[in-house]
């Protein structure tokens, strides 16, 4: 009986361990190109990217990586067309996005919006500083910056 308990515990431990170590994934509907000379991956068609910070969707993605301690890690992610990034309870949308691992900042441009459970903001450029939990939304002109209170907030 004790042996069975140990086996079950070991199995659960291994299951949790391997799932915890899975940092993320890249999925592409059409193609993926691995360029080892330029240290990049280019994904095309219904691209889905997930790391330990956020999950992103776009038509195209170019991800640059570098070698650190005999491992390869993504350092810069560029997303093109119909970009949607889900970070905790927020959803960022835009035409182009760039994420840099070094400073954990996501920058979106072109018909940008940021949606949270309580409000929707739109503009032309969004800078989301994940580490400092700061959002900067810029507009091309004063009229393009819009704030919309969503229904959940209106009921409060």
């Amino acid at each position: 009986m004790l042996l069975i308990n140990k086996l079950i515990f070991s199995f659960l431990y291994l299951f949790v361990f391997f799932n915890a170590n899975a940092e993320g994934y890249v999925k592409a509907g059409d193609s993926l190109i691995w360029d080892s000379n330029n240290k990049s991956y280019t994904a095309n068609g219904d691209v889905e990217f997930k790391n330990d910070k956020f999950i992103a969707f776009a038509d195209k993605m170019i991800a640059n990586y570098e070698e650190r301690n005999n491992d390869e890690v993504f350092t810069k992610i560029e997303l093109f067309n119909n970009v949607v990034i889900e970070f905790e309870e927020e959803t960022f949308k835009g035409n182009y996005a760039i994420y840099t691992r070094e400073d954990n900042i996501i920058k979106l441009v072109g018909d940008v919006s940021i949606e949270s459970p309580t409000r929707l903001l739109t503009g032309s450029e969004l800078i989301a500083d994940i580490d400092n939990n700061k959002r900067i939304l810029n507009s091309a002109n004063n009229e393009s910056l819009v704030e919309v209170l969503l229904e959940n907030n209106a009921n409060d």
Partner: protein, 142 residues
């Protein structure tokens, strides 16, 4: 006079025989080379090492078919392994001269970043580029 004439005939005959020998030698050599290069060699449970742009690549398959001097076909379950990647697939064609390998069968690739699964691949080893077509899933390690 007669002796002189006979000696000329013998010399001419010797020269003629030598020329014939050259022809025989030349005609014997050429077809042998052609037949050899067109022959398809098949080896089962094959593994070997190829020196390419990525360094030493180990290749293996259930059956190897040598199409010609530059092209080989890895039939059945096959693999290519080097310091950059491990490609596990099926029915892989390799052009040794251009250093291109490809397959239209599902493939799994393990590299330093993770495990990639795709529907087909084309590997341009000289350029350091691998194209994966169709639905691709790349699970990234920690």
């Amino acid at each position: 006079m007669t002796r002189n004439f006979s000696s000329k005939i013998i010399n001419a005959l010797i020269i003629f025989v030598i020329i014939i020998q050259f022809f025989i030698y030349f005609l014997n050599q050429k077809p042998l080379t052609e037949n050899y290069s067109k022959k398809t060699i098949t080896v089962e449970n094959f593994s070997s090492i190829v020196l390419s742009n990525s360094g030493i690549t180990k290749i293996g398959s259930e059956k190897l078919n040598k199409i010609d001097d530059n092209n080989i076909y890895l039939e059945g379950k096959s693999y290519l392994e080097n310091k950059e990647y491990k490609i596990y697939g099926k029915d892989i064609k390799i052009n040794l001269n251009e250093e291109i390998s490809n397959s239209n069968e599902p493939v799994e690739v393990i590299n330093k970043m993770g495990l990639l699964k795709a529907q087909s691949f084309k590997n341009y080893d000289n350029d350091g580029k691998i194209f994966f077509e169709g639905e691709v899933e790349f699970v990234i390690n920690k």
